[in-house]
């Protein structure tokens, strides 16, 4: 123990050895140099890298999100197009069906009217032929009837009338073969 410390009125407030101060300063400056030149830069570099990595991660995530949103958008657009297409096709089919139906109906109408016309023509022809035949036959019958009337008695009115009535009844009872 040096007398300096204990004998001074400042007691322990004065360094026992003034060199303590010097040693403390030098040691601190050495630590400071190491911390300044090596430790702090290395820590800060790591921190900067970490910040960059986190920021990069966030940016990547954002890009992925944007990409996903774009894909969704595209998909939705495609879906809308497909829907439109489908409805267009449906409309087309409907229109086509209606056209086919109308066509068919028209064809059927034409066919039926054609058949009708045919039938009518046939009936007309048959009727004409029947009328012709009838005319011929009625002529013959009239002749026959006249002959009979004449052959029997021409002045017997009652008889003549009966004959005519019988003739007509015969006519009526005869089946209409060519109606």
């Amino acid at each position: 123990m040096l007398p300096l410390a204990s004998e001074s009125p400042l007691g322990p407030l004065l360094p026992e050895h003034p060199e303590e101060l010097f040693v403390g300063v030098v040691l601190f400056l050495i630590i400071l140099a190491v911390v300044w030149k090596v430790v702090v830069p290395m820590f800060e570099k790591t921190y900067a890298e970490r910040t960059a990595a986190i920021q990069g991660g966030i940016e990547r995530a954002e890009a992925a999100q944007a990409e996903a949103a774009a894909a969704l958008e595209e998909y939705k657009a495609q879906l809308a197009t497909a829907r439109e297409e489908a409805s267009r096709i449906r409309e087309e089919a409907k229109a086509q069906g209606a056209a086919i139906l109308a066509d068919m109906r028209q064809q059927a109408t034409e066919e039926s009217s054609r058949l009708l016309a045919n039938a009518k023509a046939q009936i007309d022809a048959e009727r004409a032929s029947a009328v012709n035949e009838l005319r011929t036959e009625i002529g013959g019958l009239a002749t026959t009837l006249a002959g009979r009337i004449v052959g029997e008695s021409l002045d017997d009115d009652a008889r003549a009338r009966r004959t005519v009535e019988r003739f007509i009844a015969d006519l009526e009872s005869q089946p209409a073969e060519h109606a």
Partner: protein, 273 residues
């Protein structure tokens, strides 16, 4: 190896009652090297080496995702970086960060030496070391202020708060000069020294006194030997609580010294308001 045994014999020759003499340094090589090459200087050197090794080890092989070791390093580093430097100094903190990191770790390690079984002595209870750091802190904050405001500008900035009416200037300027330029480094050094000096003294009272009581073989001051033994046991047990308290005090003092240094720098480089 006279040097080594002189380094690691804590409380050697502790005479009762403990006092200023208990803090006397033991020259490591008396007669060969000057007396200031003593155990306390040696432990300060060891403390500095530990700090440097710790930081170099922690700074080595850092990765973006920290492992266990790096998490410890970053915890200590961030404690000073974010908890002290950035909080107090704002965006400018990077310039002063190395000083604060070095300051905090150097003081903390040397304070913990007070509880470390190898030395059992807080280095900064030797006031020379505390004065050294206070001097550096004083140079730092005044230098920062002068660099920012110029010499005259800084003197004005440091001694004349804005808005003081002219008649008060003769009173305020000397007071502010005293407070900001003279007293700050003194209180900085004294606070650190006195806390550790007193803490170490209290520990010695309990440990050395307890040992004396425990090993008493004849009644002392009218107290019988068994009572003295019991008192010794209680005293030794209580010293553990004091040790815990001193761990806290040592850490707090390292923190306070660093915070105040940052605070002084911050006020020196502050814009005039």
């Amino acid at each position: 190896m006279g040097g080594l045994t002189r380094l690691i014999l804590p409380l050697e020759g502790a005479a009762w009652p403990p006092g200023e003499h208990s803090f006397a340094s033991r020259p490591l090589f008396p007669g060969v090297l000057p007396d200031w090459v003593n155990n306390h200087v040696a432990q300060a050197v060891i403390g500095a080496i530990l700090v440097i090794v710790f930081w170099l080890w922690m700074a080595k092989g850092q990765t973006i995702v920290p492992g266990k070791k790096q998490a410890v390093g970053e915890f200590v580093y961030d404690f000073v970086r974010n908890g002290i430097a950035r909080d107090i100094l704002g965006p400018d903190f990077r310039r002063y960060l190395p000083f604060l990191v070095a300051l905090f770790s150097f003081i903390l390690v040397n304070n913990l030496f007070g509880q470390f079984f190898f030395f059992m002595f807080p280095t900064f209870s030797k006031i020379g070391f505390a004065w050294g750091l206070a001097l550096l802190a004083w140079l730092l904050y005044n230098g920062a202020g002068i660099k920012k405001h110029g010499f005259v500008g800084y003197l004005k900035h440091a001694t004349l708060p804005a808005g003081v009416p002219k008649p008060l200037w003769p009173l305020i300027i000397p007071l502010e000069f005293l407070s900001n330029i003279i007293v700050r480094p003194l209180t900085l050094g004294l606070r650190l020294f006195a806390n550790l000096f007193a803490g170490h003294l209290v520990i010695m009272v309990f440990v050395v006194g307890g040992t004396l009581l425990l090993t008493a073989t004849e009644s002392l001051g009218g107290f019988p030997v068994p009572l003295l033994t019991v008192a010794g046991v209680v005293s030794i047990l209580f010293s553990f609580a004091i040790f815990a308290l001193e761990l806290l005090v040592g850490s707090i003092q390292a923190y306070i010294f660093t915070v105040l240094t940052a605070q002084y720098v911050s006020s020196a480089i502050a814009e005039d308001h």
